[in-house]
């Protein structure tokens, strides 16, 4: 029998809440975390809104040794990992050296750090560029820094598949645990709200140009016009159910199923591959569509992408066949952080028996979705499906369910 893999710790840094408690208190009541960009002057750019993590004081949470060598995304990830380990009641010092590894996702790397160093290169000269530029921008830097900080020498790595990557990282974590590693720190945290990161994001032509926080990101709404980017994400502690049982750990739920597909080239007449990813995840979990109590949607906010997702969900679950929600309407799209944050949110929804709302959206009838809007909905939630898509054709889906 394949090893059951469970989540025993959560660390959350999100635009509408820092720490699991603040985040869930905000999310369950629909508190918005989107606002005007404050990290740089965005007034001359087409997009001016973002979901920024508020009140994050890295210098109070991390040793000064780490500050000169880390991008904001890494500082957020390190703190989220500290919180997740504490939440799981794991002290890596008490584990065997190779018992724990780190697999995170990344979509852009450390853009803000890189931008600062490139500015020094061109304005002052190469001798002014930080020696830490050699790794601080890497995709793999969050995994590396978490691994070094906590002394985790088990199998580690990074997954890069844009916004689908966060779910792909959890799947890789599950794979490594099934191969025998006791615990994996997984998830994803991205933060790219700086001019260089901003222009890179603008090239996809999917950012909303609205300057009204409550009107800018409206997935599945007739007025959808793109998305608002955000920063942050979630780090999760994963381990075998047996390991969790042995140490008497609190179990949030099981990562029960995973599926991933890749879309055909643009212009192809082959159908979008998202539905297949969902079907693979359900099959992997050994469940039927009617077993799913809620879907956390990818919710692109781009009309043609919303249509593809709605159609996939209607084909699998039937018209208005399952409650669907998109709490990311409160945070913006968090790239590699989105999937892990949605998985964490799904686990908290299971725990409380409450589906957090999609905010600001008036669902378009044509999509045929039972979208949970405005107010949270109480419901017995035992099984949730989380969907995430990455730019360029990545589709991933994860099934989480209440601990047996």
């Amino acid at each position: 029998m394949t090893t059951s893999v469970v989540v025993t710790g959560l660390g959350i840094t999100a635009p509408n809440g820092l720490g699991t408690q603040d985040y869930w208190a905000a999310t369950r009541t629909g508190k918005n975390g989107i606002g005007r960009v404050t990290r740089f002057d965005s007034s001359s750019y087409p997009a001016t809104l973002a979901g920024e993590v508020p009140g994050f004081a890295a210098e109070e949470l991390l040793p000064s040794r780490l500050l000169p060598q880390t991008d904001r995304m890494t500082r957020l990830a390190l703190v989220a990992a500290d919180w997740a380990l504490a939440d799981a009641g794991v002290d890596p010092e008490n584990l065997a050296e190779y018992d724990m590894g780190v697999v995170t996702a990344s979509s852009s790397g450390g853009f803000e750090f890189g931008q600062n160093e490139l500015q020094k290169l061109w304005s002052q000269g190469s001798q002014y560029v930080s020696a830490y530029q050699s790794f601080a921008w890497f995709y793999a830097v969050n995994s590396g820094q978490i691994s070094i900080r906590s002394g985790l020498k088990g199998p580690s790595g990074v997954i890069v598949s844009d916004e689908a990557g966060g779910l792909d990282a959890l799947a890789q974590g599950r794979r490594l645990i099934r191969k025998g590693t006791r615990m994996i720190v997984s998830g994803g945290v991205d933060a790219s709200i700086c001019p260089w990161g901003w222009v890179a994001q603008l090239t996809a032509k999917r950012l909303s140009t609205s300057d009204e926080p409550s009107r800018a990101f409206l997935p599945f709404d007739a007025d959808a016009s793109g998305y608002v980017p955000g920063e942050g994400g979630a780090i999760l502690i994963m381990e075998s159910a047996e390991s969790a049982r042995e140490r008497g750990a609190r179990v949030y739920g099981e990562v029960a199923g995973y599926g991933a597909t890749f879309d055909a080239a643009p212009g192809s007449d082959r159908e979008p591959a998202l539905r297949k990813a969902v079907e693979f995840a359900l099959a992997d979990a050994g469940i039927a569509p009617e077993d799913v109590d809620v879907v956390f949607a990818d919710a692109a906010g781009v009309p043609e992408l919303d249509r593809v997702e709605a159609q996939a969900l209607v084909e699998v679950f039937g018209e208005r066949g399952v409650p669907v929600t998109a709490p990311k309407t409160m945070t913006g799209r968090l790239y590699s952080g989105a999937g892990p944050l949605d998985v964490a949110t799904a686990l908290l929804a299971i725990e409380e028996g409450l589906i957090p709302p999609t905010v600001n959206v008036h669902p378009a009838e044509e999509y045929g979705l039972d979208l949970v809007v405005d107010q949270p909905r109480t419901a017995e939630v035992r099984t949730a499906l989380v969907v995430a898509r990455g730019y360029g054709g990545f589709n991933s889906a994860v099934v989480v369910r209440a601990a047996a």
Binding site: R65, Y128, A131
Partner: protein, 90 residues
């Protein structure tokens, strides 16, 4: 002709600016003969420290110097040797 002197206080300041300080390490303590590695500084931290010293004092340090000078005392002595050899205009 005046020569600048590079002191332990200068080194402390540059280490803090360029690489910070590890938890549990007191840079204000008696560190002159403690190896950089034991103070929590790996090769990149020393590279960054070296390049900041070069910028500030207008000198060029040998690449080997940073690997050979493995304590504050050794690094301070080496920097002062350079400063004496390449006096700055007053």
């Amino acid at each position: 002709m005046s020569t600048q002197e590079f002191t332990l206080d200068d080194l402390r300041r540059i280490l803090l600016e360029g690489a910070g300080a590890d938890e549990g390490v007191d840079l204000d303590g008696d560190i002159l003969d403690v190896r950089f590695e034991a103070l929590g500084y790996e090769s990149l931290a020393l590279l960054e420290t070296g390049s900041r010293i070069e910028r500030e004092y207008g000198i060029v340090l040998d690449e080997d110097l940073l690997t050979d000078a493995d304590t504050p005392r050794a690094l301070i002595a080496a920097v002062n040797e350079h400063l004496a050899a390449v006096p700055r205009a007053a």
